[in-house]
């Protein structure tokens, strides 16, 4: 599938980093900072992963759901589109789009199983939000992911022992907006790069032969490492709640 990434809607929709790191104006009015905006996205990314595990969907579905989630907030505000509803709806929509349908009532069932504060939404809300999401996504549903590229690239470099580490790195990369900015195979390359450095494997010659822009690969790698630095500890619940309550406050 990677063969035609270049002609895909995903490719055409890639954004510049500056375009992604923008707090929607409505949220800004409520005092939401960029830091908090990112934090909520990380928190909800984790939430989608957990819900995805509960629903037993493939990693690909989770990754697509997170991509939808992040795309939505490049266009819509969290004030109008409550992240707590958008997140499970993204998973529901992604499960259909990736041909692994989870029934909506099952999603609801598992939402309630995650012991968390105020997920007060019901079937009707999810179905209504699905429609709004489709519109927000401009009906573009096909998303490419670094996973396929990863296995092909690792096979090519002949370092299957890097699989687990680089796969986990990719999983974590969804806590950032990389998937909205870079072609998936570049993200895969960055994860291989980090993994090879950590495991002290020499991939220099291989990377040189690839004829890719190593600056981009290194930039992505740096961003990932910076991210790990910044979020070493998990974000305290109070901070998340404080950020979320800003959204529900009246301006």
């Amino acid at each position: 599938m990677a063969a035609n990434f270049w002609t895909s809607s995903h490719c055409k929709q890639l954004l510049e980093p500056e375009e992604v790191d923008v707090v929607p104006s409505l949220d800004k009015e409520k005092g939401l900072t960029l830091e908090e905006f990112k934090m909520i996205k990380i928190h909800m990314t984790n939430y989608i992963s957990r819900l995805g595990q509960q629903c037993k969907v493939r990693q690909r579905v989770v990754a697509t759901a997170i991509t939808y989630f992040r795309r939505v907030y490049t266009r819509k505000s969290m004030t109008e589109y409550d992240p707590l509803l958008v997140a499970p709806t993204c998973l529901y929509l992604a499960s259909k789009a990736e041909e692994s349908t989870v029934q909506a009532r099952h999603v609801i069932f598992y939402i309630k199983k995650i012991p968390d504060k105020k997920y007060v939404y019901d079937l009707k809300d999810i179905l209504e939000m699905e429609m709004k999401l489709l519109e927000a996504l401009n009906y573009y549903l096909v998303v490419y992911h670094p996973y396929r590229a990863l296995s092909q690239l690792l096979q090519d470099v002949g370092m299957a022992d890097l699989t687990i580490l680089s796969w986990s790195l990719i999983n974590d990369s969804y806590k950032m907006d990389l998937i909205l900015i870079y072609p998936p195979y570049m993200i895969a390359l960055a994860c291989i790069y980090i993994a090879s450095v950590l495991k002290e494997k020499d991939t220099t010659a291989w990377f040189e032969e690839l004829h890719v822009d190593m600056n981009v690969v290194k930039n992505i790698s740096m961003e990932i490492l910076d991210f790990y630095d910044a979020y070493k500890q998990s974000i305290p619940d109070e901070r998340i709640n404080a950020a979320l309550s800003k959204l529900s406050s009246k301006p």
Partner: protein, 422 residues
Amino acid sequence: MAEPNPAADPTQSKRVADRYLKREVLGEGTYGVVFKAIDTKTGQTVAIKKIRLAQYKEGVNFTALREIKLLKELKDPNIIELIDAFPHKGNLLLVFEFMESDLEAVIRDRNIVLSPADIKSYMQMTLKGLAYCHKKWVLHRDMKPNNLLIGADGQLKLADFGLARIFGSPDRKFTHQVFARWYRAPELLFGAKQYGSAVDVWAAACIFAELLLRRPFLQGSSDMDQLGKIFAAFGTPRLPQWPDMVYLPDYVEYEFAPAQPLRSLFPMASDDALDLLSKMFAFDPKVRISAQQASEHRYFSSVPAPTKPALLPRPPLKGESLKSRPLDFNSQEGPVVLSPPRKSRRVMLNREGLEGNHQVMNMGGVRQMGETTSHSSHVPMSVDLADLFERRSPPRPTLNSADRSHLKRKLELDLELTPNEK
């Protein structure tokens, strides 16, 4: 934003989402009504598929979503264009370019003479559209003349992607219950779960044959019979011809039948046409020619050159009669039935042959567009009936309900999640 045009038709027109002037209903698709409309923004005639949501507990219909997802990625002169999509009164509306007719109507219209150049042109457009899909890793899985729509400019476009799938992962298992039976490739009939773009090429070959013969080529009455018909024409495949055949889930040995010379099956076809046909009808999917290669076959560059789309013979213009008598055709037919006339025509066709008819529903919606008028206002009944008496071909199978429930089960099996309840 667009200039209103109520003067044109004040009683009939209704605005949808401020932009579309709603006209008559064209037919009923799998998941909702299809109606004709005028896009006031562009002046273009469009077909709007209404996807009902209220009745579903599962939000946007899965098939509809699949079609949206794929068509948003496919932009090609030989693929139906999804112009717009938007929610409206709790339904989801999909706006497609309006297509006048379809290839089945062309093939069936006894008043139309198809020259070798015309057939070449229709085949070229079919294969180009298909090659584009395959380049984008999309399998159509429901290729048949009825799903090849023809626009006012003569362009042929692949439509109805409700069964289509991205086939990126080589090891994913798919259901083999796809395609109307007459267009199903032998590997599917033998139950293959892992298959590729070759299945669409086989179906395209059946369409090629149908254009040459002016009737469906291999009209099997069951899956077994379908294979029988295939082998009766091309001979029972021998192992060297198709080594993997014996490993297919539903493989059974067929009594040996010798191949008939292609020339005798298609006496009117040129040598180039026969060569291409034989490559598209290769038994082994690995050997079967790709859509891209097929579209570059010398058949298309040899004389006669393919007819320019605009000059292709088509069923008489439906738009004309429509404009003059927009309301009448319904009353002519007696009680207003919401099903498309195409369907009623099929029902009649069935009655000619046998009473029971089970192929009631079509899989998709858009394809019916334009048919409404063609049949009811244009084609004189008597001619049609006489025609049918002569032919008595069995009903053209679409996916029947048994197939579809089977398909549904299979699709559920396809899911990689373990069932959560039950």
